[in-house]
Assembly symmetry: C2
Homo-oligomer: 364 residues x 2
């Protein structure tokens, strides 16, 4: 049987550097555990624009569709800020999400014990925090039509459309309830049903799916503004949060920052099962392309490595191997190995991106 295939799209900024460390882990899996992948690489984002005049070619799109899993680094950078909207680096990522129909974006916000003091929040508020935000990723205001900048009389008008169908809401709700069953069995759904009709539909459909299919899971609802507050106040009250594309964008970034472990957080974007039973899937760190430190060997590769661990778990049914990688990361942190982003005010000497990767390999 052919090895499972992985398409690596390292992208821009620190993407290639952090992905280099993932490749080491993939190599180690083959050498030491006899687990082999067919790895290929391609371009996405600004680097694809530089090479082809588009942030994602049709050929790359086709390869992503065919891969068993896609690993993405990061896209974007100031160099591309002036590009036309239609060819911005982000469009490449959004096209992948949309055409692969990756509707369920899992964003764990987890506080690593060794790093609890790093948060801007008090230790007791974040220590041991382990929640997951399930963000709808293929619809809402990111993709709704009509959209654009139009001329009306003598002024411009900017328009975007928030749009959710019942089935789009139902499928991401299911994925949140399924996840909750494997965790603490609690889902909190967030929207603005007090001011948006799309939020009313969201709340209704989530409730219907719950009552019909997941009555055993504890469900609550919160307005997204109150949700932002509660995440800042006492995030441990949550287990799984399910929310739409735009709210998910803000809330998951806030949650990630709260953990103090931004350079540590992975994400999985999952779609429907393919013919081989595996879900369409793309894995990427929550952090961005960090152009200010790109190319200097300073970046923290852990978020990208943990994204690969999520791939092992969700795409390849290798939960034990995933845990092995996660434990290795914890060990290295407990041993005090730190990249520059993890240095506290007390100082110390940071390791490079490569040294962090090597330390994780040794711990494996």
């Amino acid at each position: 049987m052919a090895n499972p295939s992985i398409l690596i799209l390292a992208g821009d900024g620190i993407g290639p550097e952090v992905m280099a460390e993932v490749k080491k882990i993939i190599g180690w899996m083959g050498d030491k555990r006899g687990i082999h992948f067919d790895v290929s690489e391609d371009l996405v984002g600004g680097c694809a624009y530089d090479a082809h005049g588009t942030p994602l070619t049709d050929a790359t799109m086709a390869r992503a569709q065919a891969a068993d899993a896609v690993l993405l680094g990061a896209v974007g950078g100031p160099k591309y800020d002036k590009l036309d909207f239609s060819v911005k680096p982000e469009r490449g990522l959004l096209r992948l999400r949309k055409e692969m129909d990756l509707y369920s974006n899992l964003r764990p916000a987890q506080c690593f014990d060794a790093l609890a003091d790093f948060s801007s929040l008090k230790r007791e508020v974040v220590a041991g925090l382990d929640i997951v935000i399930v963000r709808e990723l293929t619809s809402g205001v990111y993709f709704g039509e009509p959209r654009g900048i139009f001329k009306e009389g003598n002024e411009r008008v900017g328009i975007n459309t928030q749009r959710y169908t019942e089935s789009e809401i139902a499928r991401v709700a299911r994925s949140a309830f399924e996840l909750a069953r494997k965790r603490n069995n609690k889902v909190c759904s967030m929207e603005k049903a007090n001011v948006m009709e799309s939020g009313i539909l969201w709340r209704d459909v989530v409730t219907e799916v719950h009552d019909r299919e997941y009555p055993d899971v504890e469900l609550s609802h919160m307005y997204a503004d109150a949700g932002a507050m509660q995440l800042c106040r006492w995030p441990k009250q949550f287990d799984v949060i399910v929310t739409d594309n735009l709210f998910g964008d803000l809330l998951s970034d806030a949650a990630a920052m709260l953990t103090g472990s931004l350079g540590m957080l992975p994400s999985a974007s999952l779609g429907a099962p393919m013919a081989n039973g595996r879900p369409k899937a793309l894995y990427e760190p929550v952090h961005g392309s960090a152009p200010d430190i790109a190319g200097q060997g300073k970046a923290n590769p852990i978020a990208c490595i943990l994204s690969f661990a999520m791939a092992l778990r969700y795409s390849f049914d290798l939960g034990e191997e995933a845990t092995r990688v996660e434990k290795a990361v914890e060990k290295v942190l407990a041993d005090g190995v730190r990249t520059a982003d993890l240095m506290g005010p007390e100082g110390g000497s940071p390791v490079s991106t490569g040294q962090m990767g090597d330390a994780i390999i040794s711990a494996l």
Copy 2:
């Protein structure tokens, strides 16, 4: 000359309780400082629905339009959760904002020194924090058409429209730049120009207004998700933040929570100048109607009292009197007077809503 007029809309939940303390202050202003207002009262929100079947009657709307300033308590409560969207308590508030054209919502996020330990954030991250979020309040996805829940094939679709015209963006940008000139001269504008065309227009127009009319103010731009992160990480980097209606809703709530002083934070919603030169204006606390503690004399009246102080400053040109009220609040806090929401884990005995109001009067 007639006294300036104030319309009080105490609303639901703790609204009436906290507003009672504002009335004491208004009384004190007349008795001790010879500053008199024509005060009248009316209904908004759930209580208006109970009385009239609508959260805001046309008659109340007309009185609000005619008043020199409107003071609002809070609207909403679980009792009204099942009401049809069109008559929900929130619709009363939204109608006031829209028809009075209160496009500029100033939400200070300030950390009171006596309360810095209350934040879930570390003291050094929030102590001395003093930023203002200027939220656009009359447009965007809150009001854009088309909107509603529609049938498409055999499923429902929820639709809302994010819509901003050039002039809507320009006027709120101006109000942010004006405010910054009276503060630390820095504005950060937040949108999602990387994924929304309305965000591109927002960024362009804010930049144009800046370059043409306020080149002396320092302007930066941030994506709203990064903004949510940075607010949680190091909020003191900001001075004035300007953003749209929906982002402003989430970001200002998060910022308010960070200060640890949620029950303390006022807001002013300002429109264009009326014939008498005063801006149309509505003042309200940032906190909600807190139905869980309503009617128990536990609520903290400070946010509502500080909202009245904002009215003194922005509607009545009584900056010195406003400062007097603010200083009285600070003194009372420094003296250790605390309502229940301000009790730390070390305990102590909280004062009632009325006692807090009286303490502020004594300090005046």
